[in-house]
Symmetry: C2
Subunit: 456 residues, 2 copies
Amino acid sequence: MMSCLDDGRFHGELGNGLSSDGYASIEDAVKVLLQGLGEDTNREGIRKTPFRVAKALREGTRGYKQKVKDIVQDALFPEAGLDNKVGHAGGAGGLVIVRDLDHFSYCESCLLPFQVKCHVGYVPSGQRVLGLSKFSRVAGIFARRLQEPQHLADEICSALHQEIQPAGVAVVLQCTHVHFPDIELQILDPNHQGWLETIVSSGSGVFEDKQADDWADFLGLLRLRGTVMEKLKFRRSSDPYWCPSLSIKVSSAIEPANPGMVAAAAKIIKSLGEDPLRKELRETPRRFVEWFRNFQNKPDMKVSGFLCGRRDALSMNGEVDLNSKRVYAELGIPFWAQCEHHLLPFHGVVHIGYFILDGFKPIGRSHLQSIIHFYGFKLQVQERLTRQIAEAISPLLGGDVIVVAEASHTCMISRGIEKFGSNTSTIAVLGCFATEVTARASFLKTIPSPASPAGQ
Amino acid sequence: MMSCLDDGRFHGELGNGLSSDGYASIEDAVKVLLQGLGEDTNREGIRKTPFRVAKALREGTRGYKQKVKDIVQDALFPEAGLDNKVGHAGGAGGLVIVRDLDHFSYCESCLLPFQVKCHVGYVPSGQRVLGLSKFSRVAGIFARRLQEPQHLADEICSALHQEIQPAGVAVVLQCTHVHFPDIELQILDPNHQGWLETIVSSGSGVFEDKQADDWADFLGLLRLRGTVMEKLKFRRSSDPYWCPSLSIKVSSAIEPANPGMVAAAAKIIKSLGEDPLRKELRETPRRFVEWFRNFQNKPDMKVSGFLCGRRDALSMNGEVDLNSKRVYAELGIPFWAQCEHHLLPFHGVVHIGYFILDGFKPIGRSHLQSIIHFYGFKLQVQERLTRQIAEAISPLLGGDVIVVAEASHTCMISRGIEKFGSNTSTIAVLGCFATEVTARASFLKTIPSPASPAGQ
């Protein structure tokens, strides 16, 4: 198994990764996908999207072209240890752990990126140690491919063991996959964060036995950085699905997936150098297209005929004294959208503020959720989504409206910039929220802050 | 001021950044610096250090060669806004914030890297918005130079304003600089984390006035990610020093800095394309050498003559029943070291465990601190440091010793891998700590974990 690791599973000819041939075939496929959503591929916002997607996919899977040996060979350093009778330290038995290495990978089941927090440990032997940065570089080689968490952990572990020849290597990966939109579930659970986590591990040598003392040391050291493994559930082999696409029932009986789009997705997989007929990849194009078609282009909502009773009730009141109004806040309504620049999901929550008068019931949360989903489930940018939600709800809510969208963008982690902790916020303000900073401030203060626990 | 931004302050000829000429002159200078510490530049661990340092410095200052226009020009998208009478949203007045962008920069006062958490906001105008990832890319252009926090914030702000032409741009930077070793201070304050934080801000257009409503909105949105500005102190112009090298008194009267080393440091600055005679850089080579010479090579400690009374006392007891011993833990002793592979600091804490018998006083913390500093203040790797500490204290403590080092490596954030949250742990175990997993586990449990607050 180890002998083929260096070669990966790459079959294509990528040259320097900038080969226009390879780009062109992905770009063509992306155009087919965009047309399948009913989009005009000459529209300004998406005109260069096929190129951006091709570039991001190529960079994001460049691990196929990289060799572990190239990374490791210049970074093995002689390092004294202790006589085994005295103890274990340094280059002979001294456990080394590198924790919290952030990476991303591509899910081989659905083609979406997933985040990987990687912890690696090893017990050196033979009086030599590996430069610390190389654990991250080697993990990156295998992460930047189409992957599945357990397979990724096994590959990192085997490759490090082969190159370092230590007493043993241990790998723990905390993988987070974007959830798939499920409107019912999200309405039931407003705190739904949109992430699925799975934890996998792999061990070689002294770490081969999960009950070995070395694992106790390794997990004891992970705890020092706050990774408390007792609280986390490792995936068992009886949990077959980690990617949500695998648990979605094939809806082909109702609405068959567009065969042209499925063929285009298969063409992309092939262009990355993978074999679309490999067992794990055979259904991936269909699953990707099922996900992707959530974002079908659709004509604008007829807001005037939607919940109009509410608007009439409020507009009857005409201009009211601001001081007699109070801010009503509907917080943390989940949303989903697909970034039209990179064809990657962004998701988060929308907070809505408006004024209500005594005696009037606030608008139902599920109605707001429906409007948000209507504008979310299409190719979007966060600025536009925020404006569209504000414009749609404003006539229903008397014209004084603030909308704040808080989002994680998959495109901010899974391309060159790799800004793992970053997050984006957008605001749209109408009526007195546009003119009164105190109205905005009093609304923003109602939104809970993650780092301001109760009592602070 | 804005007109010269795109050109930066780069004067050299770097070509593709891999020019062997540029590398060679930095490599030669690094050799002089290593020799100045009394190191043998042919020693295996540091033989390739000059090349690694040259490569890291070149990559870390590649911002001199990058142009903001190249980043921004393809990423300005038409985006509808609202009629100004109705409100503000999208491409006309809809505030956008991108938070928590992790970067690093190089301190122009001392040449050490510092971390930057960058928050950028802008108010679009003219119905156009900038692709979200570009805020990070533009910040990166200016971060990857020799910098000072306020200047960095101003450059990011001005460049974004010039290219986007929005209603205004706001930038907040949380910069953390490695502290300089100060043995007295650290012994007094065992929880000293080794970082200095400063917060700076810059605003253009509607953000020019710090009292403007737009700043209230911006800070209100930062709070949603836990960045509570009221708790943080912005740097005032009356706080002149943020880099600790600027507050160190010139010790040249006592021990003049090696002129050859200072000239070598100046040569490095010049090779990066900077002007060593620029006002802010004139004293930088001397300051760098002052820092660097903390890590002078020195002969091994004569441990046998050090604290030997303690060893005698324990050795008199001979082999004692393990069950009658109890683990004594000395936690969180700060350490400093210089990574010999990259000539960058790594620092953190050492936890020491040993057994004491009833009636014996534990060894003094300041004695342990002295030993740790002796081995820390030289060119090191963490594995060796841990072993050397364990070997040095073992004879003083009866032979049953566990040493855990927890460290942040500046080289893990300030080169290509940029793994901002990563952290490394190493263990050395002697005597029964090498053989008994329960002894190790009971010691590790005494170390507090950051994410296990009291009560969990």
